[in-house]
């Protein structure tokens, strides 16, 4: 690998942007393609697929065996609301490989005792969120039921273009949320990105089942081709 290629891979990794290194294992010929350049690449379908699956592997193109090494950032999950659902959601997400942070300004809720081994921030979203460096590789879930907490957090999630944004609440609650967020400049298209009611419809009843529904929906958004994602 050329030093310049290695330096480019490291720079993209440090910036939490995906990059794929393509190596012809017979000749040693090699190139790196940043996610932003996939669309114009002759191998774009293969690159898209491997990045979506987060999986490195061999492909064969015109009789050549090429190895695609996928460097994708670790996905984060930010949970707004240290509620009962979050207590089930945080460990589940961690077992799926996410870096999890729970944010809730209510110190009685956001306590380490309720969330062992989870990064818990007992601050309002305007203080808690900027240091978390929320980015595209972040799933963002608002479950406090309290507009004072959820709304500013959701505005931050839109600004950072999170790959998944979900919010707890019935259709009626969600419609009211729409009125409030649009009054703050969120477009219809942005608002339509919020998954609400949150989670795949699996008939979830308990907090743990709702956590499963949420992680299933996040997984589908991460792994399925865009047109098929829930």
């Amino acid at each position: 690998m050329k030093l310049a290629t290695l330096a480019e891979v490291n720079a993209e990794r440090a910036a939490r942007r995906p990059i794929i290194v393509i190596t012809d294992t017979a000749s040693g010929e090699q190139r790196a393609v940043k996610a932003a350049d996939f669309a114009g690449d002759p191998l774009h379908a293969e690159l898209d697929k491997h990045l979506r699956m987060g999986k490195s592997g061999m492909i064969e193109v015109d009789g050549k065996k090429l190895f695609l090494n996928v460097y994708a950032p670790t996905a984060k999950l930010v949970i707004i609301g240290a509620v009962h659902i979050s207590q089930a959601l945080a460990p589940l997400a961690r077992s799926l490989g996410y870096d999890v942070t729970v944010v809730d300004p209510r110190t009685a809720f956001a306590s380490p005792e309720r969330f062992p081994d989870v990064n818990v921030v007992a601050e309002w979203p305007d203080v808690a969120l900027p240091p978390l460096k929320v980015d595209h590789y972040t799933a963002f879930v608002a479950v406090t039921h309290d507009p004072k907490v959820d709304d500013p957090a959701l505005l931050h999630a839109f600004e950072r273009d999170c790959f998944y944004i979900g919010a707890l609440g019935s259709r009626k609650t969600h419609a009211k949320r729409g009125d409030r967020l649009k009054a703050q400049g969120i477009s219809d298209a942005q608002f339509a990105r919020i998954h609400a009611p949150i989670g795949l419809n699996i008939g979830a009843v308990s907090p743990s089942e709702i956590a499963v529904a949420i992680m299933a929906e996040i997984t589908a958004t991460l792994r399925l081709p865009k047109e098929r994602a829930a």
Binding site: M1, K2, L3, L6, A7, V9, N10, R13, A14, T23, T25, G28, Q30, G54, K55, S56, G57, M58, F67, N69, V70, Y71, A72, P73, T74, A75, G97
Partner: protein, 107 residues
């Protein structure tokens, strides 16, 4: 794979910039119950220091030896380890899998 490894690629870059000969070994194919998935990296420098893992410890010794060779020759190599291979058995890939490891020089 998700990028949860310690930052071994950064170490490889730093070693190279500090004037070391450096090789990068990557698992490119696996069959059976291979301990580390395709894409896993091991980086090696010319004094034999290595970081990362291609097999969870089974064949690293053999990969490091080959990597030193690649550092001096500059020519990449494809290595294969599996239980059917007497040498591989000796170095200990006993989990029943087979892996193919691509070793290349950095720089």
């Amino acid at each position: 794979m998700l990028d949860r490894d310690e930052d071994i690629l950064k170490a490889a870059e730093d070693w190279q910039k500090a004037g070391h000969g450096v090789a990068l070994a990557t698992v490119v194919e696996t069959w059976g119950s291979a301990p580390r998935p395709a894409g896993s990296n091991l980086v090696i420098n010319d004094d034999g220091t290595f970081l990362g893992s291609v097999s969870g410890g089974c064949v690293e010794g053999a990969v490091v030896t080959e990597a030193l060779d690649v550092i001096s020759s500059g020519t990449p190599k494809m290595l294969e380890f599996g239980v059917a291979d007497e040498t591989a058995w000796n170095v200990g890939l006993s989990c029943g899998g087979t892996i193919r490891v691509f070793v290349e020089k950095v720089g």
